[in-house]
Symmetry: C3
Subunit: 413 residues, 3 copies
Amino acid sequence: MQTNEALDAAMQSQFMTNNLWILIAAALVFIMHLGFATLEAGFVQRKNVLNILFKNSMIIAIGLLTYCLCGFNLMYPGFAEDSSGFFAFAGFGLSHTTEAYSAADGTYTYWSDFIFQAMFAATGATIVSGAVAERIKLVPFLLFATLFVAISYPITGAWKWGGGWLDAMGFYDFAGSTIVHSVGGWAALAGIILLGPRAGKYTDQGIKPIPGHSMPLAAIGVFLLWFGWFGFNGGSVLSADPELVSLVFTTTSLAAAAGAVGAFFTSYFMFRSYDLSMVLNGILGGLVGITAGADIMSPTDSIIIGLIAGILIPLAVTMFDKLKLDDPVGATSVHLVCGIWGTLAVAIFGDCDGCGSFVAQITGILAIGAFTFLFAFIVFYIIKATMGLRVDEEEEARGLDIGEHGMSAYNQF
Amino acid sequence: MQTNEALDAAMQSQFMTNNLWILIAAALVFIMHLGFATLEAGFVQRKNVLNILFKNSMIIAIGLLTYCLCGFNLMYPGFAEDSSGFFAFAGFGLSHTTEAYSAADGTYTYWSDFIFQAMFAATGATIVSGAVAERIKLVPFLLFATLFVAISYPITGAWKWGGGWLDAMGFYDFAGSTIVHSVGGWAALAGIILLGPRAGKYTDQGIKPIPGHSMPLAAIGVFLLWFGWFGFNGGSVLSADPELVSLVFTTTSLAAAAGAVGAFFTSYFMFRSYDLSMVLNGILGGLVGITAGADIMSPTDSIIIGLIAGILIPLAVTMFDKLKLDDPVGATSVHLVCGIWGTLAVAIFGDCDGCGSFVAQITGILAIGAFTFLFAFIVFYIIKATMGLRVDEEEEARGLDIGEHGMSAYNQF
Amino acid sequence: MQTNEALDAAMQSQFMTNNLWILIAAALVFIMHLGFATLEAGFVQRKNVLNILFKNSMIIAIGLLTYCLCGFNLMYPGFAEDSSGFFAFAGFGLSHTTEAYSAADGTYTYWSDFIFQAMFAATGATIVSGAVAERIKLVPFLLFATLFVAISYPITGAWKWGGGWLDAMGFYDFAGSTIVHSVGGWAALAGIILLGPRAGKYTDQGIKPIPGHSMPLAAIGVFLLWFGWFGFNGGSVLSADPELVSLVFTTTSLAAAAGAVGAFFTSYFMFRSYDLSMVLNGILGGLVGITAGADIMSPTDSIIIGLIAGILIPLAVTMFDKLKLDDPVGATSVHLVCGIWGTLAVAIFGDCDGCGSFVAQITGILAIGAFTFLFAFIVFYIIKATMGLRVDEEEEARGLDIGEHGMSAYNQF
């Protein structure tokens, strides 16, 4: 009797610690939305800053509310035993139980589960926001973002994290190199294709660089994203397991550091300049790259993965520019290219007992990529055909801050 | 024997986790002061930025030191059994015991209690700081802030959180919609009335908008405030109780998100523009609104509370402008109006077994409001009559950065 | 049997909480690097902002990678019993064990230890970065930073934290007033001496103030540094011990607050102005000052220590200027002067049973200072003689952003 009391108290204590970590991780993922907002604001022109801040402020709100309305129950529907694992829906709204549904195995409550996953949900739309910046209309974008986070992201997420068909075939994506990051990248790509490049970017005289208006804002964004990634990856352990969480912190940081170094040298050799935007995106590339396997890599593996991700950044930025796919913040290079790389890296370096094979990883990349790209392309296409997607030339030249909002981000300078 | 050892170890472990959460929550509340500083800096004119940063840097210092000197012992005096619960004082300075006074019931130490509460203390003065910005003299403001956080805030706080008369009558204010936020709002209102509006704000031709100088700073402020609110509300559980803390994270986030949406639609219908400052203040309004009942609301309740708070923001901003009460950052709309709304919402939605009745809530709102407004009005009045409260016209036109500090916030632009 | 199960579960739970705190503390120390980046960016001229952001982005990357390569094993070499405790090296690279090597005594894993210490490692170089800003060449600086964090910092760190000779003689430096902060300050001093002042700073007409370009960035930096310091000092408890961690949070905050007040009054009496940069550096001075003894001071002690640190800031800034030692951000005043002060304060106020005597503290200050200054001076000297250390006059006048990077931090203003 007495003994059980002690064991119960000990298990309750483990539950408390596990649950607390999931909540703190949720707060850290939340701050990534400020990271995205400042990064994207820094990388766009001064005349489009208020617009990007407005979009990113609304995206987190839309993401949380739609995840509450339907996203959570689409992503974790509890697939039936005989389900094909492609689609299921557990109904609208949240369970209003206050029972800690995972208390039995000492992990976390229903609310912790919801809020942690909800903070992830808007990330994909935020990635799109940067890529289509400086030319997309506000309300059409918000409409797209709503549909994307409410429907597309949770459906593909369910395939793996909800226990669907990709999970069954051994696809491995620890914290979402594919499920979160390349999903955002594929939707960004669809938007970029349908929107076309910014006026004056690709001219007969060549590619015109359009530098961001504030490097301090961009740097603040990247550091905050790195900070938040401790929650993004660390919280994805789904407990405070000391070995796993501490390993994840280590691999995540080393990959980010190696990404900076990879981008530093590659961009120097390619452009003969010390390019801050490349180093910053190199850090993000390293973070995206390690995300799929942060819990199963050694420090050395994580450095190699981050280094290659960093090397990929200037190469990808150059490639997208050659293809005239205009991405003001480099979101496709960071999240799509390095997201694919990180997912493949699991098959190369990972060791997770029968999962993460090349076949499984490539299947996951292609299936989720195809669904997401098609979903985004169709939604953007319908919006383009009906409401219109792109602001007119005059508004683009004046800037979206005045055009969409009638205000400026900076005043009295 | 052996059994007790295990139970002791388990209880010590729970104590460690509870205490750690209070400390992390204190750090999160601390970062709200950066949120206020950047929000207010962003919403003022370029010529008054250094001044507002200076005030907010001093306020947190003054808040911590005076809370150590007398505030903590005014707010948690340990009312005697037969006390009327209006006023008591446990003496100057902190107990220098290193005993963990709550270790017995597995929660937190004396120091944790102090530092968590001390981080709250300066919040009220920070709210005032924004509302009276761009025309108040520096030293008089700092004097007011010192008296306000050292005396007024802890006295009214004691009425509820210190176990005083409002607590006895069933007033419910979980984390301070009234005790922290509307207290700041009432003092701000007293200051605004005695100061008068900024020159040129209300003219014969109508109300002249004076836009803030940097929307990125304002947005950084709001996201940091939201981030810190996880500690403000989450830490107010006063333990790491998994069910309560995770519920609080969920209700807090959903109310903030709904606040953004409420302000988005309302400001669009009112002004036909997508106004970032309204969305940002809508988020804050949602956060303030949920604060009184974050631990007793369902997700649906919290969305409704946040939505209404968001709707209130453009209405309140318009109302205060009609009354020629000039508040450069909208602090009275956010903290006073939504603070009252949140406290009332407890009576409408809350379910806390005999507490939070309409009578109790309205009594609390009025009693704390009356005391605070009078205190602030009298102190500001005496300062105005002696030292003077407002900078002269020439200084206001040139800006307080040069006038009060002889320096500018930005150089070499 | 059953009983052991309960005790094991309880000890595992304590291990989880302790370890989680070390990891969260590591994340908080990480965000200090954003604090340094924004502080230094704010305090330099507009034309050198991208350069300082670039340096600080690379420093954290270099710090983590070199600490992984050799720093960790230099700093915690496990001195042999009969070792003199001056130098040892446990070999290149990290142990790839996934064993939680400290699980036995319920504290933290090998990875947690590594990542927490690794986040500290780059701090010294970051301090140097600010002091030598606006005139040092990029690649030479990065080379210096690499050698400094890879070799010098871990060797002197090992003397105390690695269990070396200073530890044996009772030198006390809880979280690194000397081991981290004054180490950075000494290296900065060496750099400043070899570089010389910025052009136009010290003229025949007197000392020309060169104000920083953005006070909001500087203020963001200081608040983030304070926020991160909760991890820096709080994590240095190396467990989640409720009494110690909560005491450390309290002493750290009170010292920072008192530093602001000390600098406020002193700078007012010295310069008759309310100087934000002095108050901001006063906060940092208070934080540096309390760092050596944050776990053994009473609140009153910590207020006195912080107050004196704050008073020292304007005095030290004036002194360095009189000596024509040009430090654009005041890093030597904050980290060197207050680092020495905090280390001495342990001998004055501290009570730690036989450690922290004046002899031990002064020996530690001098020995670590001499080694670090000499190391930095020699490395800077060799670099100066070979690659050159300082940009040419024309580049300095145009700014390092264009000179070293061919880009500006701000565009389209």
